[in-house]
Symmetry: C2
Subunit: 340 residues, 2 copies
């Protein structure tokens, strides 16, 4: 069905119908001037927003609309995870270009709601308008957490050990494959895993909560711009440096086994981004408690004095590590066609 035959308010009603209910926390949801929401009186409110633009962040030739909806929610949920919080409420603003149909928008919201539901959040409001250029997506996520447990980027101290969950570089490698595939190649199981990691990232809400509740982390961030950039954010905000060991950076067997990548696997980990893993620092006196959590995170280095970051290579030699991740505006540093 054409959106023009349904109209703006008909479309909002369709979106309202797709959204899950949370009568306990949502006093007023979709369809009023603002949502009216209930938080625990003991909580701090967490709030974050991310924009995704067609032709910059995504290409409708390489993603389906369900995955795009999922990812739009996931990247915001990941920011709540990186604070250690519990996600609660989501608002979406959509600029919709004429080619998209009512069914397209429904599929997009099925993706949004599937991701929200998996992590206990609900859609409570938003905005819809027409776009004359491409599809424009802006998502805001609200969460809550114990006031004293908030984990920022600024608490890392020299001597703290650096950990990262999961594996790095998969999403960037998956994107590279997807962009080539537009030129038509088949894919095995390992390749499909990389693509899945790019199109439907899983925000680490459970892991973030465990880390926050146990009080073991001095700083935390999610890996969205690439390890070197995101570690750089922790160093800058904390006023410290870092030394990481190349051999300890976790790479998946999927990335390692892919022979056709344009760059070495480590490059995808350092500057690829969009992994949405959690990167965090643990003071030495919290290590025993941290290990008891069995998070399955890799120790990749240590926080140092000074402000510079370095990486120890396979040959034992130390080199300066520049923040080489994604920057939306710097000329010549954006090696690929999408950003985050």
């Amino acid at each position: 069905m054409k959106i023009s035959s349904l109209g703006e308010f008909g479309l909002i009603e369709q979106i309202r119908r797709t959204a899950a209910r949370d009568a306990k926390r949502v006093r007023v949801g979709i369809g009023d001037d603002a949502a009216a929401l209930m938080l625990s009186p003991a909580s701090a409110l967490l709030a974050t927003t991310d924009m995704l633009l067609e032709g910059v962040h995504f290409d409708l030739a390489t993603t389906d609309l369900f995955s795009l909806g999922w990812k739009s929610a996931a990247v915001n949920l990941s920011d709540i995870a990186a604070m250690g919080g519990t996600p609660r409420f989501c608002l979406t603003a959509l600029g919709i270009p004429p080619p998209l149909s009512v069914e397209d928008i429904r599929v997009f919201y099925r993706g949004v709601n599937a991701c929200l539901k998996k992590f206990g959040a609900v859609l409570v409001g938003g905005d819809t308008c027409r776009s004359r250029t491409g599809l424009v997506i802006s998502v805001s996520m609200l969460g809550e957490m114990e006031k004293k447990r908030v984990i920022t980027r600024s608490g890392a101290r020299p001597g703290d050990l650096i950990f990262v969950t999961g594996t790095l570089g998969d999403s960037a490698a998956g994107l590279e494959v997807l962009q080539r595939k537009a030129g038509g190649r088949g894919q095995g199981t390992e390749v499909r895993k990389l693509i899945e990691k790019h199109l439907r990232p899983v925000p680490l809400i459970v892991e973030g909560r465990k880390i926050a509740a146990s009080g073991i982390a001095s700083a935390m961030i999610d890996v969205s711009d690439g390890l070197s950039s995101d570690l750089g954010h922790i160093c800058e905000e904390s006023g410290v440096g870092a030394e990481i060991v190349a051999a300890n950076i976790p790479l998946s067997t999927s990335v390692m086994s892919l022979k056709t990548l344009e760059r070495p696997a480590l490059a995808y980990a350092l500057s690829g981004g969009e992994d949405y893993e959690l990167l965090f620092t643990v003071p030495p006196d919290k290590l025993r408690k941290f290990r008891s959590l069995r998070l399955g995170a890799s120790e990749i280095g240590v926080i140092t004095r000074g402000r510079s970051m370095s990486i120890v290579g396979g040959d034992g030699r130390k080199a300066l590590l520049p923040a080489s991740g994604y920057d939306h505006f710097r000329a010549g540093r954006n090696v690929r066609g999408t950003g985050r």
Copy 2:
């Protein structure tokens, strides 16, 4: 200065410097994964978002960037006002096309912050990315209010009187003048008032608070799509109808005195939109209390049984009133080039 020479994170640092501080309520502000914010334990959280797209909602040929920043904040603040709430926190997501400079973005944020400051809110976070098409703005506003005082669109009952603050149609008339002016006309004081109303609307936070605190309103909405549309929203959500009197709809002397408008002044009031006045309903037993507030609102009609809206003309004849305000998607109903 070019944004590319500053980079994404340099730009975020610039934006962080423009923002006012609120150490009591903002535990973590701009520059982390999410903002961590403090609300009163007795409050409901209000949350709203609005998107503004170049070429759809605004034209850089007819607005300066300070006004655009102001308006981006104001339209969201107006949604908080329409619930009766107190605005607290703002997040902005910006998609920035290459022609804009660092100074342009600074001026935009001066506008955002000037509006926020006037109404007691602060910028706490956001997202910046490059846009390949036009300037893309998405603003989310968070506010708070006493849990029991939230005013929705759904509480109007037959017999309630309908009031609206200020005057209607000025913004739409101002836009029409602006679009013609791009063809080069001079302007008097009255015309400048109309343009000002369009470019820098003033959200009625103080009036919304008074209405909420006194408990006199059964339903409320801000006039963003046009009186007929927004009254339609109240009727639909409340399951009621309405009868309004054309002669009682408040028109400004500026609109009345402008001889060159393409349509009758009343048409701008009924379907123009972007007035950001407050439209609300008052039960008969609350009228005395309402009058004691001295809000300067005009009584324009009464809520009726049924679902239809009608308007009584100057000749005393009653006609059906269709919701003729702005709809982003309906074909043939968008008489002008901008929406909201």
